[in-house]
């Protein structure tokens, strides 16, 4: 069902354009069914999708609910499905979504996690998966008085996967995860990669065994959805393949 708001024509200034946001709404306190709702939003050239969503929340319908914080793509709060692909609302400009006059942009919650209200999903299973791969440096023996030494090459080995902001865009873009909530998803593997390939870490064996479990890294079907979805540009599928290789050859 699509509800279009009955409103007088929106005023649009010269430097603005009008786009339609088609948003998946769900609030079990009001209606047990989710439905689509459309809003006409005036946007400026540099506006982020987040700005358009804020326009709706602040001036059209205060009940529209979504998470957001930093608004420039470093906190990972506002991952959502935009025109069918996972994006951070604060890191995609409306004009880059084909947001020209009259165009419609669809916005839905990320898939595979339970929707709680509008664009807010239950993140707990996602964080549980993250915790299960022992996401912390494991070392033995006494700490040195100063820093541990690490060559620039060794540091570069895991650079890509340190960028992860845990927005869940990759995990919720993965078709395996959509159907199998037990699969811990790309993000947890990325996090494991960050430690497995850190020359200072001594927990690689342990993590590799965890990833070798039935719902582990072998569930990956290499669809590259995760790599496409990552707002930080992490080569997620590559990281997963590197973990698989480490498991086969038992060499990091």
């Amino acid at each position: 069902m699509t509800v279009t708001q009955e409103r007088p024509a929106v005023e649009v200034a010269d430097h603005q354009q009008l786009v339609t946001l088609k948003i998946r709404r769900y609030d079990p306190e009001v209606d047990p069914e989710a439905n689509w709702q459309e809003f006409q939003v005036p946007v400026e050239k540099g506006d982020r999708l987040l700005d358009a969503l804020h326009h709706v929340k602040w001036y059209l319908d205060g009940s529209l609910t979504f998470r957001r914080s930093c608004a420039h793509g470093v906190c990972g709060s506002d991952a959502m499905r935009v025109n069918g692909v996972n994006r951070l609302a604060c890191k995609v400009l409306v004009k880059d979504l084909g947001g020209r006059d009259g165009d419609t942009i669809t916005v839905e919650p990320i898939k595979g996690l339970a929707v709680l209200k509008d664009l807010v999903v239950d993140m707990d299973p996602f964080f549980e998966a993250f915790k299960s791969i022992k996401p912390f440096l494991i070392t033995s023996g006494n700490e040195p008085t100063r820093e541990r030494l690490q060559s620039a090459e060794d540091r570069a080995r895991f650079e890509d996967t340190t960028k992860c902001i845990m927005c869940a865009a990759c995990t919720t873009a993965c078709p395996v995860f959509w159907n199998d909530e037990a699969y811990f998803g790309p993000q947890a593997i990325v996090m494991a990669h960050r430690f497995i390939f850190d020359s200072r870490d001594e927990g690689a064996d342990e993590r590799l065994e965890i990833l070798n479990e039935k719902e582990g890294v072998w569930r990956c079907r290499t669809t590259f959805n995760c790599t496409d979805a990552c707002p930080r540009g992490i080569q997620v599928t590559k990281a997963i393949q590197e973990v698989k290789r480490a498991l086969i050859f038992r060499k990091v």
């Binding site: 602040w58 319908d61 205060g62 609910t65 209200k117 915790k131 912390f136 540091r155 430690f195 850190d198």
Partner: protein, 576 residues
């Protein structure tokens, strides 16, 4: 619902996570409450680095760092705090490395360091490489590393719980009241020690590098109890934010060789700070930029911004050292930093002031006495290490050094108490009444409209340049907005994730803090660090070498003053 812990940490950014780790070492039960998920905290947005005199590149000593911090703070810094700070931070950086923080490395494999604004060798002779960094995502790495350590230690987290009241009974803090976003339920948390680590309030300004969630909640809650806020007139404007958006472009860009240019292409910082030029402290650079813009030397059709020029730096260096900020320029402005300069303008960045504490992070209820059971660390607190102007990198030190001290103090205090202090009879009444008034009041004023008018007036009248006249105007505007705030309406009547309701509550906090800032600023008839009065353009050590303490007194604000602690270094004129 009721919860009981020995130590409660409010806020899960760097300071809160560090405090939780150190409190847990004291064999006490610890819980962390945050209105976000921990990894969303704004510590993650910090870029440039964490300054410590490791001397990995060039010779460096903690005394030089201490001096720079004091001089950078325009001598309003409490020197005992600065001493503790510059000594402790060296171990703090090594500890972060041991926890797994992936610092960038020197060719010998040591932690890499680079130059940063205001950090000098031999008491001001030349810029020194002191900022330890992990590319341009140092804050992200600190936040991730500290969260990882908390996962390792099994810390209890209450995520998406919005703290709306502190319970202070007979002068002692004994818990907090929080609103659970997912259900709308009100929870009471009883605790022997409460550590405030909830960050700043940059959202009183329109152009800000701060997250949308930084509304100074706990500062305001503390202040509403008639307890003081220190040095609220001192607010830092970071010189380089993306124009119009305010997104932070790290000082590390200039540390790597980036140059500020006006519309004539002139490297104008040579005129304002002949010795260290573009690497002068933030307050001086921000003022220099506005001076250029006012003199008609701004860039762009409206002449309202300045260029940050990186085009002379090799693209490989930008990719290796500053990958994120080049990406910001491309994503948000469509600018290619390899070939084109980045348009920037100063952006509201950091509160030097806040909840007054001593060097053990104990919160002060006046110039000398503490509130037993209450601690604060990070941006929410004013120790005061940063004085009138914080140096770049020093905030990431602050969260580590004082987060740690706060955690230890809180655990020690909790262990000294045999039992929890009893809560008052109806601790949640005030919060319930506040929410009910907003939700069911049927008001017609729009929260977003009032907030944006507040931000406009603060940007126009209380930012980098201030005069008595502009501050009076801001005061009048805020009073008008507060009157309208009484009539705000909330359309969402639900309990589940009612973020509209919480935005309305947050606006109340912002209005309070904006008012305190303006009143404190109006009374300080001098210019010092981040507080610049055009009608009093010089520093006045005779009358104003003292901290402002602002108390809520009925509907008014009462100002008192606290002496500055001076130990090693005597005030001098601040030249770079």
């Amino acid at each position: 619902m009721h919860h009981k812990y020995d130590v409660l940490v409010v806020g899960a950014g760097g300071a809160g996570l560090m405090a939780a780790l150190y409190a847990a070492k004291g064999d006490v039960s610890v819980a962390v409450i945050s209105k976000l998920y921990p990894t969303r905290s704004h510590t993650g947005a910090a870029q440039g680095g964490v300054g410590a005199a490791l001397g990995n590149i060039g010779e460096d000593h903690w005394e030089w760092h201490m001096f720079d911090t004091i001089k950078g703070g325009d001598y309003l810094t409490d020197q005992d705090a600065a001493e503790v700070f510059s000594k402790d931070v060296i171990d703090a950086v090594y500890e972060l490395e041991h926890m797994g923080l992936p610092f960038s490395r020197t060719p010998e494999g040591k932690i890499a360091q680079r130059k940063f604004g205001g950090h000098t060798r031999e008491f001001g002779k030349a810029a020194v490489e002191r900022s330890c960094y992990a590319k341009d995502r140092t804050g992200h790495m600190i936040l991730q590393t500290l969260y990882q350590q908390n996962v390792k230690e099994g810390t209890t987290f209450f995520n998406e719980f919005h703290v709306l009241d502190l319970i202070i009974e007979n002068g002692r803090c004994c818990g907090v009241v929080a609103f659970e976003l997912a259900t709308g339920e009100i929870h009471t948390f009883q605790a022997k020690s409460v550590i405030l680590a909830s960050g700043g309030y940059g959202r009183i300004f329109k152009i800000t590098s701060n997250a949308l969630t930084l509304s100074g909640d706990l500062m305001s809650i503390y202040y509403r109890k008639g307890l003081p806020l220190e040095d609220m007139e001192f607010y830092q404007f970071h010189p380089t934010g993306l124009t119009k958006l305010g997104i932070l472009i790290t000082e590390g860009v200039r540390g790597e060789g980036g140059i500020l240019r006006n519309k004539d292409g002139e490297r104008f910082m040579e005129r304002y700070a002949p010795t260290i030029k573009d690497l002068a402290p933030r307050d001086m650079v921000a003022r220099a930029i506005y001076t250029e813009i006012r003199a008609g030397r701004g860039c762009g059709p409206a002449g309202d911004h300045i260029f940050l020029d990186l085009t002379h730096l090799p693209p490989e260096q930008l990719d290796a050292k500053l990958p994120d900020i080049t990406e910001f320029a491309r994503t948000y402005l469509g600018i290619e930093p390899y070939t084109d300069p980045i348009p920037i303008q100063p952006t509201a960045h950091y509160a030097m002031g806040g909840v007054p504490t001593n060097i053990d992070a104990q919160v002060l209820r006046n110039n000398t006495d503490i509130v037993p059971g209450l601690f604060a660390a990070g941006e929410v607190a004013c120790v005061s290490v940063h004085g009138a102007n914080r140096l770049g990198t020093n905030s990431l030190l602050d969260i580590n050094v004082f987060g740690r001290r706060g955690g230890l103090s809180a655990a020690a205090y909790a262990n000294s108490l045999a039992a929890h202090v009893d809560l008052p009879d109806n601790p949640v009444d005030d919060v319930v009444a506040l929410l009910q008034r907003l939700r069911d009041g049927g008001g017609t004023e729009n929260v977003a409209t009032i907030r944006s008018e507040l931000q406009e007036t603060m940007d126009a009248h209380a930012s980098v340049y201030r005069t008595e006249e502009t501050l009076k105007q801001a005061e009048v505007d805020i009073a008008g907005l507060k009157a309208r705030y009484v009539h705000v309406g909330v359309a969402d009547r639900g309990l589940r994730y009612n973020t509209e309701l919480l935005e309305a509550v947050e606006l109340g906090f912002l209005l309070d803090l904006a008012e305190v800032m303006v009143v404190s600023a109006k009374a300080r008839n001098e210019s010092r660090g981040g507080h610049f009065r055009e009608d009093f353009p010089h520093r006045d050590d005779v009358n104003f070498m003292r901290h402002t303490m602002a108390y809520k007194d009925g509907g008014d604000i009462r100002l008192d003053y606290k002496p500055v602690v001076q130990t090693r270094y005597q005030p001098m004129e601040r030249k770079y």
